[in-house]
Symmetry: C3
Subunit: 342 residues, 3 copies
């Protein structure tokens, strides 16, 4: 692609030779001639001077430091992402069903969709236009997959789940397994049938080995534009608002509603039956145990210290309530024997 064409197409200001060509992306450090690099995080600024990239995407504040051609844009990272997708598209495919796939009678598979080797597509399901089902996917009865959605490999869609358009589901993800409903009864549990489904909006990405459970009576809902990383667990009846991101190993318990444009970092846990409002950021590994009604950033995890030191602090924590009472007594000028401050 000529730089002039990229600049026009992605709304960049071009500084440098408009006729120069790039055909791939690279990091600033590893770029060779013909590569396009980007600089979004100032911590990598030191690599700018020596880069051999043909051009660099960056913002105006850094453009003067760039000695090669520059595509100047206020959001260099998003611009990089878009250009990288253009230069490195996923492999094209033709519609059809692999000889080693099973498509049951009564499944509606668009002729432009691809059903890969080892897939099973049950009767009553619907695979829309230009869908790609990589090898080993399972689509159970009544499930549907929207236009241009891509299941990389070994994805399981349980019965009646509905996946939107332009979604991307990574290997091992399971959409629509039963939610965890167990009714205690005389020292045992009675399984609560999980009769709802899962509804996933358009432009959603779901990571490898991630689960979204089906609802108990109603549906679990993932709204449009949500991005979910690997090994995330979304419980039954949860709703995740549009354009929220959820990083790896996070878990959201049943019946919780997470707002729009939230950022849920890795390993965060959110308890059940809560409401998290729009525009909330929860930092890594935090446990959210009550609803959040104010946008903002929330945290709750201690960080690593040298073990010997941490253990001394943790031992003090085990008696923190008593320590606070002792401080209260000191403030009151009481002696040590007095323990009436609750």
């Amino acid at each position: 692609m000529r730089l002039a064409e990229l600049a026009v197409r992605f709304g960049c200001e071009l500084r440098g030779d408009p006729e120069a060509d790039v055909d791939r992306v690279a990091t600033l450090q590893d770029a060779a001639a013909g590569s396009l690099a980007f600089l979004a995080n100032p911590r990598y600024r030191r690599h700018l001077a020596a880069t051999r990239a043909t051009a660099v995407i960056l913002d105006a504040s850094l453009a003067d430091e760039c000695r090669v051609a520059a595509l100047v844009h206020p959001n260099p990272y998003a611009t990089y992402a878009r250009i990288a997708a253009l230069l490195h598209p996923p492999p094209a495919f033709a519609g059809g069903v692999h000889a080693a796939a099973v498509v049951e009678p009564g499944a509606r598979v668009d002729p432009s969709a691809w059903v890969g080797a080892g897939c099973f597509v049950a009767g009553g399901s619907r695979i829309a236009a230009r869908v790609f089902l990589g090898p080993g996917c399972v689509v159970l009865a009544g499930a549907s997959v929207g236009d241009d959605t891509r299941l990389v490999a070994k994805v399981v869609l349980c019965h009646d789940v509905r996946i939107g358009a332009r979604c991307l589901l990574h290997p091992g993800s399971v959409i629509g397994a039963d939610g965890f409903g167990q009714a205690p009864d005389a020292g045992r549990y009675v399984k609560v049938p999980q009769l709802g489904a899962v509804v996933i909006g358009d432009d959603v990405e779901i990571g490898a080995n991630t689960n979204v459970d089906r609802g108990t009576i109603g549906d679990t809902v993932i709204e449009e534009g949500v991005r979910i990383d690997n090994q995330v667990q979304i419980g039954h009846n949860v709703r995740v608002g549009a354009h929220t991101v959820i990083a790896g190993c996070a878990g959201i318990s049943g019946s919780t509603s997470v707002g729009r444009r939230c950022v849920i970092a890795g390993m965060v846990g959110i308890a059940g039956h809560l409401t998290i409002c729009d525009d909330v950021v929860v930092t890594g590994r935090t446990m959210v145990s009550s609803s959040i009604h104010q946008p903002g950033m929330y945290s709750g995890t201690l960080h690593a210290q040298e073990t010997r030191r941490f253990r001394r602090n943790a031992a003090r924590f085990q008696k923190l309530d008593e320590l606070a009472k002792r401080v209260r007594r000191l403030e009151r000028g009481d002696g040590e024997g007095n323990d009436d401050d609750g």
Copy 2:
């Protein structure tokens, strides 16, 4: 189903028209005529007055507020679960082997069992009566599956694992992968062969992408009636007592024994080589690092605060031991220079 029949079958007191029919379940809010709803959690009491359900399952204390027919039972949630299972059974199936399944010679598959598309059932394994193997399941050599057990899809049973009767295993679960045994030796590790198996009792449910590892020499054991959610990791040589529930993303390290009727909440971690007695409740995200010998409820995780505030508290935690010493000095009336209190 007529209400009179449900009342008799499930031991409810019926208030209202015994001839009324219900054919499905619904929430109080969404119910229409012909639906059966339930009220177990008093927080949803406000929906009772306006419900259009034909009947509601609830306990005696709330029955007077119910304006439609009532099925009165001291445990409305478990009663709901049982009636919902009756009204919404899983699809029936006939025994047989799908043309796209592989059943090796020497596998014993009961004629009433179903082996779905893409399944692999190895020689020396045993599939009992009315078992359902959904698409893409793998049953390795010597594994056995008890009567009426259901593997939804893409479940892996490694060699020699034994699954009881009436179990339910969700997609992506892996039973009997090697436990994590690594013997350090001169800066490297020697793999310790995992020669035991996994034994899973009757009426056990295992969630999607959950793992139960095989034992090192003896077996890992999950007793009857245990219910395990998604993405749970059960290490080698663990024993989980009967009728214990384990919520999503929890992990139990090797050689730990968990008692009967315990409740292990989401994201709980239990270290290895511990004993947890019967009737222990561990709340969400808690780390259990030593054995528990008294029934009761145990906790250990901090909860989210606004980040700015949390960080100030966490910074203080990093010096909590010193703070405690300073308090001790104040109590003694010592000056600041004295640091001899350990």
Copy 3:
């Protein structure tokens, strides 16, 4: 095997009858004649006196207590692991492709490798000598698997990943799914294409349902001899140094580098863009939020207490910063009204 032969082969001092035979391993407690047991952890010393094993592997300090034959070695656990592997080898297999596997034209599969039922091996991939692909594995285009590596079942290798020799990958593991790159742009996210691959060295073990994500531009790298347990999440661009072990449910965020010979315990989280030096031990459940430049042991998680007690302490933690200020005021001899200590 005769004990004399084992002693010579594994460098043990033999005390007892060199002609005695063992054909299997067992625990000290359960051993019968013909079994070989071991004693590495002194907590099991009490079982030594009564064992019926034919021989026991132990170190010199415990050898005098052994009433049966002894194979004396300074590292009894590693020696046990090696002998157990010899006595209990994985089943032998012949090369070939199962009739229900799909090997695309252009895939290079060594004749000594086995491709199991339901496998899909894409064109452009390479399966080396004596590789074992258990049922249901997927190897996408351009991926390669080194000599003697074993994929147990249902492993997914995404395009262009490279697996070394003598590796062992457990069911449900996914190598090379897209890293989680999302560029925010006007309240939405633009997916960042993940164009790198994954390179896994020799003698690596990867647990069930574990993920190693592909790099954004460069590769994610797992060096030789690394051992990774189940349900571990390794983000894009991570490097894990040789002979490091990572226990179950741990997570390493993108672009972090972990050194050689580290021990990362279960449920540990390591934030992104960090450097962890060689020879670091991180104890269970710790959150590592900044780089570690000194070898040593690091911790960061509180442990379970009785809930009532924990909650009182946790409530005090929520105001720990204020408590510290109150102590400071007491030290200064200030009154309660003064709040100028930040």
